[in-house]
Homo-oligomer: 563 residues x 2
Amino acid sequence: MSFACPVADQRLVLTHIVRMPELAKSNRFAEATSDTVDALLEAAAEFAEGELAPLNEVGDREHSRWNEGAVTTPTGWREAYGKFVEGGWMGLSAPVEWGGQGLPHSLTAAMMEDFNAANVAFALCPMLGLGAIEAVEAHGSDELKRRYLPKMVSGEWTATMNLTEPQAGSDVGALKSRAVPAGDDSWRVSGTKIFITYGEHDLTDNIVHLVLARTPDAPEGTKGISLFLVPKVLDSGEANDLQCQSIEHKMGIHASPTCVMGFGENGGATGWLVGPERGGMRAMFTMMNNARLNVGLQGVGIAERATQRAVAYALERKQGQRAGLPMPIADHPDVRRMLVRMRALTMASRALAYYAFGQVDRETLGDREAGLRADIVTPLVKGWCTDVGCEVASLGIQVHGGMGFIEETGAAQYLRDARIAPIYEGTNGIQAADLVARKISLEGGLPFDGLIADVRAEAQHEQLIALTDAVEILVATAREAEPNDRLAGSYALMTMTAVMTAGWLMERLSRAIDMGEAGDINAGRRSAIEYFLSVIVPEAIGLGSAVESGAELLFRAPAEELA
Amino acid sequence: MSFACPVADQRLVLTHIVRMPELAKSNRFAEATSDTVDALLEAAAEFAEGELAPLNEVGDREHSRWNEGAVTTPTGWREAYGKFVEGGWMGLSAPVEWGGQGLPHSLTAAMMEDFNAANVAFALCPMLGLGAIEAVEAHGSDELKRRYLPKMVSGEWTATMNLTEPQAGSDVGALKSRAVPAGDDSWRVSGTKIFITYGEHDLTDNIVHLVLARTPDAPEGTKGISLFLVPKVLDSGEANDLQCQSIEHKMGIHASPTCVMGFGENGGATGWLVGPERGGMRAMFTMMNNARLNVGLQGVGIAERATQRAVAYALERKQGQRAGLPMPIADHPDVRRMLVRMRALTMASRALAYYAFGQVDRETLGDREAGLRADIVTPLVKGWCTDVGCEVASLGIQVHGGMGFIEETGAAQYLRDARIAPIYEGTNGIQAADLVARKISLEGGLPFDGLIADVRAEAQHEQLIALTDAVEILVATAREAEPNDRLAGSYALMTMTAVMTAGWLMERLSRAIDMGEAGDINAGRRSAIEYFLSVIVPEAIGLGSAVESGAELLFRAPAEELA
């Protein structure tokens, strides 16, 4: 089934949620005119639809393959990546100084949504590059920037994020990889890293690994961690001391090689510090925050693709009759419900994710409040938008009936691909913990209260007002609660807060449509918004008891007794 | 990971929900003594754990394979099926007259839960046999019973259900397969059927196909449909005129061959009527109602297996520290929440499913009210328990973090296998439609009101009382509503009604545990019940707006505009 990028929806959100015209008034983003936005959306759509979408099923079927340390990507992957580099897509929001175009991150978000929708296993590769560019730019030495950023920004070299070790997953502080000074300005890095996305591949000549490791005498835990840039190939042209030891056999994103990486088996891989020694966590979070928002966009992209496919199938497939004529299943109320729900969740997750990128752009312009708002909504984007991706993909299977379970239909791949997003870059449970343990109390709680106040100032639907009331009370209680009680209800609070924020943004979209500002956006969007406010928002209210239930109930019995 | 059948839970539900001691007072079920029940549960557990569970991953990896009409099941499948027949498992609840043991269906339910948990792709084969035995027994001629039932009951021959055709899925009435009289008492059947589970395999010498087809001059739609028994091999030893044309490549249940079956390509497959001509739908529903309850048990079984695996992993996997010691992830509140939720949903779905089988058993004893209660809860069991299977399997992946996405871990297979259950034997949307279009108004609504009254008479938790109030009001409104409005809210009403009924049964279990009647059932069960009542029940209340939202909103825009 052909896929068409949702250009009109994206333009609506960029205009009325991101408020791109405001951003374009700054010197920094003066290039982001309405014409540029339109041209970019069209060009990204063309690339996604024409080059990436046709490879999505190929990648799922062929997988990337490992052979004695080398990884071969599926048929067509290399060519598509070549065109990606040629198109200059990697540098859209990267600094002009290093060859980028310096456009707002929210435009890159639109591009990434398209690429995710077309082929999430492909898009994962540049996604990691985006975070790595930010980290090197923010924390790297001038020398390191000069040597690496131009080719990272052009996409000629890809990048990876090496955090996880077998014993250190969510608990990053438990990692054991080591780095020792080499005597010059370089270090010798050694250790084993797992779950390294695109840790090895045949798309480019070099791969820039960003690796967390401990330096000699560093304290235990996260405070002793430093970040190193470890290239696959050294400036001399020599291969560095690292290798891909195997790749994983996964439920989805088959074409994206998930690598076990061994560093320094022959004396140590050569690397350079990014940021100060023991300042690795800070540098990592630069990369991680970017990646978290981008993983949220994977949910949005897959939801868009699944929705389009389901609507097309539901219009084409006939079951039953009306007035003697075969009836498309889209006209059966419960199927229509699924389609409206899919569209509503997709729109809402897009609005929330783009909103976050818009706040990041404002932070870039020096707006500190916007930066804090971005901090607050980041766990919501990562946590909720990825849950939306799974729910919408699963509904997409259901719309297809028996055909949905047949792999050739394509609907099943979306769920298999979407299912990783709630896990990586910090599980959604970690996002929920971040919300209740840090974000609701950030700077005395003022930024979070500011979000509530903004929603309250505009909310019109009675259910949205009721949800906002509920969130406000629950957050006040959570701030006073014991840590474990707060954590016990964290996931439900994350969902409620995300739905509240997305509902607020959906109302904004609704007003834009009502005022005729939406261009060619159609009536289906209006009913999806109304469905979100009148059905999905009340469902979120129903999670209040989960937020309040507390830790005592969960820990009343030892975990063994749940087996 | 080793799997242990939940014998203590099953005994608790059989005693206090099915109320097996009451059933055993009847002549018909006098054999179902407490000792028999215990012995059967232990023996079923031994077979499931020892023979079927070890083949589950093998089946997923190897798939069943098609080659020129023949289907080869994975390594070990034939041997396991042989032991299944030897054990007499197929005939547990089948009539003594035909070689069965005549035990209550609720005991077969416990056995099937175990087999589903151990290996749902294997258990699917006998599952279809159970429905076929019922259909032939209820509607077949004495001659047909004599010829086929003994070997179907022993399991020497398996059976299939041939409904779906390319153009006729949920709309069974659109089927085109034909049957013409052969001049003797047999018919010549021709047509193509799709999605035929175990339509061909190498487990047995013969396969009994039950095939829906139209006879000459039959009216259009469901009224013109008849059911035929079409064996793979005729009494003469000759092959019948039918073949497996291909098998599907599916998201899950890889070992279960899903066949395209061609009947009568060489003049017509020989078959015999089951029930009267044009009485096919009634015969089919005998088979279908059984299958719907059994598909619900697939959700229960997979949920049990996923829960056990997740608890074991969460106890073994350490992340973070407490008092200087490595901390199992089970002690992190959000992970514990997932485990408690998984256990709560698993228990509740088991209680609901077994309850339904208990009502079927009472119907067998001539209790008409129980039969109506079974009719009402059948869509709840099929619809909700299969949704539970998917939710719990997905939570199981999440508990495993990154490892959950790696196929070798095993958690992903449960979700891939579980995802078919909301689709086949009538999609869950069809179940929801059955609830609102037929079941809430059956016999003037008295049986449904009886369910509400039963729940109300016992419900103690304030949230359960609130949910019951909500369901009562929503059902009253639904009965008066336009059909499309009723259907628009049907799915949410199905979930609410299922959670209400399961909550009622969970309170019963709670009382049994409080009174010390639960034997070795542990404290984890108590907290899971409390979690269900205080968290999951309120979530269901949050679906009220979805029930009330109506069709107008869904149909406000043409479906094209949702693309």
